[in-house]
Assembly symmetry: C2
Homo-oligomer: 321 residues x 2
């Protein structure tokens, strides 16, 4: 096993080496722009680390690491069009810097390029890699659809919310871990335990995102605090608050729908505080952390590798940005 | 070999049997809506017919026929968003009937579903099928990008135009034919000749489309005649006319850019007539027909199969709708 940052360095180098045809520029420039914009490189890091944990070498799984990173960036690109988001990672989004047609078409090309990268494996592995990847992609689209559906609903349950983030976010982390294990030729029992580790990690990760959006430290978070509250986003915090609140507090939150002011953020957070939903959220995050550790325990990999993935899960839920 | 209409009937039945999950409806309804809207089923028909021509059975290649039809419909769906087209095949487009986010996301899902369908083949064929399909998809995005780039250029050459329609339209017909041959286990020499047949057919087909848009019979064409002229679209007819015209006629066409009237259509068509560009177009179509027949001649398949594909190419360039 290498250090986390060493995997990320390898990925950044490989991303920089991706070859794009020179023409048509309008198709390929937005793709390299998107990939070079950075990001945490979390998913490809999981691919490489899972491969090495199972006795493979990082280079065996690099095409798949890049494929999953390419796919992830494709979903961000198209999601940003759907959400009309102007900025991503501190830079203008593609539909903002170029135009919407460019964002749609370049995103389509990224999805196909991700398939090309995933396909770069031994022939006896190809069917398994394709099936996992395509099934995961379908779940992610379903998650995005549910996320959009939730915007116009006011009766979303916690169970529905968890299922939505499982689809939209977590299964890709599961897919990343399992694909890495596959590339090392790990047995089915190991691969599926890695998948479950990744899914639990993804749930903890997304809930940590939700928590940070309301309770993060503005000086380190990187985005404005309170964006979810401002946008009336049905996160775990809001859904739980609406469940626990009495009629008065529920009415107060509803009455602020559509309002966009700092005062709204303060009022809604005050209600969250009174109801203790931040603690509920932390407890749920801890329970998903426990699940990741339990899955790791059962995997037949060296202790050093277990420590790597356990440490990574712990860091994910204590991160501040 | 079966009759053309028999292949189309089999495809329509298989399309009707595609299973979509019930939820989320917002994701899957637009997909079945798009697939059920019909269309010529040209591409899947070529897959099945090429498979049978090479000694396979239509059912061997049905998943790939559906995969290519699904892919084709995905490109139409996203192209309609980019072109802001409100109607397709006499029905509202997806972004018109639902909304743009739905059109983007359902299109993405169709691309992944097309990959799932293409993957349904024997494991030793999978790598070849994937490579051909993904390479073709990338070419199609490049073609769409060039098509959009041409809108803001007034110096597009005939060679550039032919290359654009080769990428945007023709390679998918080549891919359809070659995939069908692959599914029958045909040798490389047969597969690549079928590919070239499909590409030449696609060029003839698209040029026939261009010709019909200006010279078709309004009572059978199905769309309004003159749409390309109204929209100043750089088709073969316009590019050739601009090449052949004297300064006066060229200026007259340019002066009508942006104008939308029946008179404009009549004036521009009058200039085309004087310059004889319809004849140039018919000659080019005939030369691509000759190429399809030459490719067929060299393929080692039964005469009955050759006659099927020759007949199909001839019909394509004499069609009136």
């Amino acid at each position: 096993m290498k250090m986390k940052n060493e995997y990320i360095r390898l990925i950044d180098e490989a991303v920089a080496r991706i070859h794009y045809p020179a023409e048509p520029r309008g198709l390929y420039e937005p793709i390299s722009y998107t990939l070079d914009c950075g990001g945490k490189r979390l998913r490809p890091m999981l691919v490489l680390a899972a491969c090495e944990a199972c006795g493979g070498s990082a280079s065996d799984a690099m095409p798949q690491a890049l494929g999953i990173e390419m796919f992830h960036n494709f979903t961000l690109l198209h999601d940003d069009v759907m959400d009309r988001a102007d900025m991503r990672r501190g830079k203008p989004t593609v539909h903002n810097r170029w135009n919407e047609s460019t964002a749609i078409l370049s995103g389509d090309a990224m999805l196909t390029m991700s398939m090309q990268l995933m396909s770069k494996c031994r022939e006896n592995m190809l069917a398994g890699v394709m099936k996992l990847f395509n099934d995961t992609a379908m779940q992610i689209y379903e998650g995005q659809q549910y996320d959009m559906d939730f915007e116009s609903r006011d009766d979303v349950s916690v169970a529905e919310y968890i299922d939505m983030i499982r689809l939209k976010t977590s299964v890709l982390l599961g897919c990343a871990c399992e694909t890495g294990a596959m590339m090392a030729g790990a047995p089915e029992v190991t691969r599926s335990a890695f998948y479950r580790y990744g899914v639990a990690l993804g749930l903890a990760f997304q809930l940590q995102d939700d928590w940070l959006d309301t309770y993060g430290d503005p000086s380190v978070f990187g985005k404005n605090i309170g964006g979810d509250i401002l946008n009336d986003k049905k996160t775990y915090l809001r859904i739980t608050a609406m469940d626990k609140a009495d009629e008065h507090a529920r009415g107060r939150i509803k009455s602020l729908n559509g309002v966009r002011s700092d005062e709204k953020v303060a009022v809604v957070r005050g209600i969250y505080d009174t109801l203790g939903v931040a603690d509920d959220c932390r407890r749920l995050i801890e329970s998903y952390l426990d699940q990741t550790l339990k899955e790791l325990d059962a995997i037949d990999i060296p202790d050093e590798a277990k420590a790597f993935f356990a440490e990574y899960a712990k860091q994910s839920i204590s991160r501040r940005s």
